[in-house]
């Protein structure tokens, strides 16, 4: 199931990238969207006294927590259960979806309100719940528009980054009972009206978790819209899908992480709504869920611990690496598959789903290192991409033609005679329309350098 959901075969990557590059409207939207997000981030980081110190501290907290994950998971479970909540560890998407479907069934649920969560996208939860006969409504504005119009999130933080106000007006007009003009205020009011009804009548609220605090059993959710708060205020049941790596041992250690998340994601000191939910509704309270279920999702995460890719588990899903990536800014999210995108996606997707299911993604990088510079927790993303490329060759996933080309190349250039012949051949080959054979696909998307008329070694 994971493989099906996250998989991005080579031809789909190429096709999606080509379509994105040919779409001027989309290119303009991606350009301005990523530019705004990255300018906001630089501004917010510039206002910090000791940005590097905060980054080092965050990295240290993330690394240590993941090293001691069993301990913190046990503490977290004890804390949540002590408050009357339930914790269920699920190792596969199928397990997680089945558990959530069962919870909804027991609650006799018909309508599920959701707050944006990449973990639920990862496991294909909406499809599973809909297959069980439930109506599922996304309440983050961007996700709602995508759900109405069909499609997948294009960006892990700004899912509708490629859509315009005209697109939004069409979607909201069709969903409501009156036409909506493509004016920002009108769009907002229409979405507010349509989703209010969902918040009021939903039986179950589903959220992800930005972080979970072990010592208190708290789920930390951040949104600018406040939709996660509404999703967890009125429905009788709250289900959390928590990526197992998102634990933080203590409240004190949560502070640098939420500060970095707001600054790196959207350029804010603190995201507008930063909420800690600790257990279900208590005696005498007027609202909040009676029932709380936390699904701790593994789905390939625990097997990354102890490998050279373990630092990928430090990721806090801020999206900063997407906004600076010269590849993402051209291809958008679709090229990377339906869930994760940009440099973090190019590393994470092959790790979760297997290199053979996403063989193009390690190559979706110019290796410029802008992602590594932008990462608030210091993940060496471009180095991990190089490691994945090595794995592609070592595991025999790279295409036979690619391996043949590299073998011939290394063989030819290991002798001076071979090198001499290759440079002479290149001079013959170029005027004939570029590289031949396995190199042609590579050359088709690139401007090849012009060779000097006379080789340096032949000049007297």
């Amino acid at each position: 199931m994971t493989a099906e959901r996250l998989a991005q075969p080579a031809e789909r990557f190429r096709e999606a990238a080509r379509r994105s590059l040919a779409d001027g409207h989309r290119q303009a939207a991606l350009d301005s969207g990523t530019e705004r997000l990255l300018t906001g981030r630089l501004h917010a980081w510039g206002a910090l006294d000791d940005a590097q110190g905060l980054r080092d501290r965050a990295r240290e907290i993330r690394t240590r927590t993941i090293d001691e994950l069993e301990l913190h998971l046990a503490t977290f479970t004890r804390s949540v259960e002590g408050l009357g909540g339930h914790v269920q560890v699920c190792s596969t998407p199928a397990d997680a979806c089945a558990y959530v479907t069962e919870v909804c069934g027991r609650a006799d649920a018909r309508l599920v309100a959701k707050s944006k969560s990449m973990a639920t996208e990862e496991i294909g939860l909406n499809d599973a719940l809909e297959a069980a006969g439930l109506r599922v409504v996304e309440t983050d504005l961007g996700e709602y528009l995508i759900q109405l119009a069909g499609g997948h999130p294009e960006h892990i933080v700004a899912p509708a980054i490629d859509r315009t106000r005209e697109d939004a007006a069409i979607a909201l007009s069709a969903a409501g009972d009156r036409p909506v003009e493509p004016e920002m205020d009108q769009l907002m009011l229409a979405a507010r009206r349509q989703l209010r009804e969902v918040f009021r009548t939903a039986d179950v609220g589903i959220t992800g978790a930005n972080f979970a605090v072990a010592e208190t059993g708290s789920i930390c959710l951040v949104t600018n819209e406040g939709n996660a708060d509404l999703v967890t205020a009125l429905p009788q049941v709250h289900v959390v899908i928590l990526g197992m790596e998102r634990l933080v041992p203590t409240l004190a250690e949560l502070v640098p992480l939420v500060r970095l998340l707001g600054r790196s994601g959207t350029g804010e000191q603190l995201t507008t709504y930063t909420t800690l939910l600790t257990g279900p509704r208590r005696e005498g309270e007027r609202d909040g869920p009676e029932e709380l279920h936390v699904v701790v999702l593994d789905n390939g995460r625990s097997k990354l611990r102890g490998t050279r890719y373990r630092e990928m588990l430090n990721c806090i899903r801020c999206g900063a690496c997407l906004n600076v990536c010269p590849i993402y800014r051209k291809t958008g999210g679709a090229a990377y598959g339906p869930v994760y995108s940009g440099p973090m996606g190019a590393v994470l997707v092959p790790l979760l789903t297997g290199l053979e299911h996403a063989p193009s993604l390690p190559h979706a990088s110019s290796l410029c290192g802008a992602c590594t510079d932008a990462c608030p927790v210091g993940i060496p993303l471009h180095e991990l991409l190089i490691d994945l490329r090595r794995d592609l060759v070592e595991q025999g996933v790279a295409s036979r033609r690619e391996r043949l080309a590299l073998t011939l190349w290394s063989y030819a250039w290991s002798t001076s005679a071979g090198y001499r012949i290759s440079t002479r051949l290149a001079r013959l080959g170029l005027p004939l329309g570029g590289l031949a054979g396995p190199g042609r696909t590579w050359a088709a998307a690139r401007a090849l350098p012009r060779l000097a008329r006379t080789r340096f070694r032949d000049r007297r």
Binding site: M184, M188, D229, A233, T274, L277, T278
Partner: protein, 125 residues
């Protein structure tokens, strides 16, 4: 003390709130909630459920008034978490400015779900 109040008011204003020192009669008719804490360094108001007010009360209104007792203003998140750690409420919501989104064309618009206008009133003494 007054340094915290001044910092809170300035940062809340910068976050998009309408700030007031002392209750004004012109706000009397509006939906009102009481903040359990406030953060000076980000201008945030902090809400928690009680017998008197539910979670919906700080989310539902289009225009909301948050009352902040001056002695509940703490410097920032570190002090807030230190204060609540032993007795975490079932919901602790830290709100910095009005509800907003930039999901369409990355253009900031307020009030998509929560309040479009957030008044914060600091009550002294």
């Amino acid at each position: 003390m007054s340094e915290l109040v001044d910092g809170f008011l300035a940062n809340a204003e910068a976050a998009g709130c309408r700030t007031h020192l002392g209750a004004g009669s012109d706000l009397a008719e509006l939906p009102t909630v009481r903040a359990t804490y406030a953060l000076a360094d980000t201008g945030s108001v902090v809400f928690a459920p009680s017998a008197e007010q539910g979670r919906v009360d700080w989310l539902d209104a289009e225009t909301l008034v948050a009352l902040v007792p001056a002695d509940r203003i703490v410097p920032g998140l570190d002090e807030l978490f230190a204060a609540v750690r032993e007795r975490m409420p079932s919901a602790l919501t830290i709100v910095t400015g009005p509800s907003r989104t930039a999901d369409i064309e990355q253009t900031l618009v307020v009030g998509v779900h929560g309040p479009r206008v957030l008044h914060v009133v600091v009550l002294e003494g």
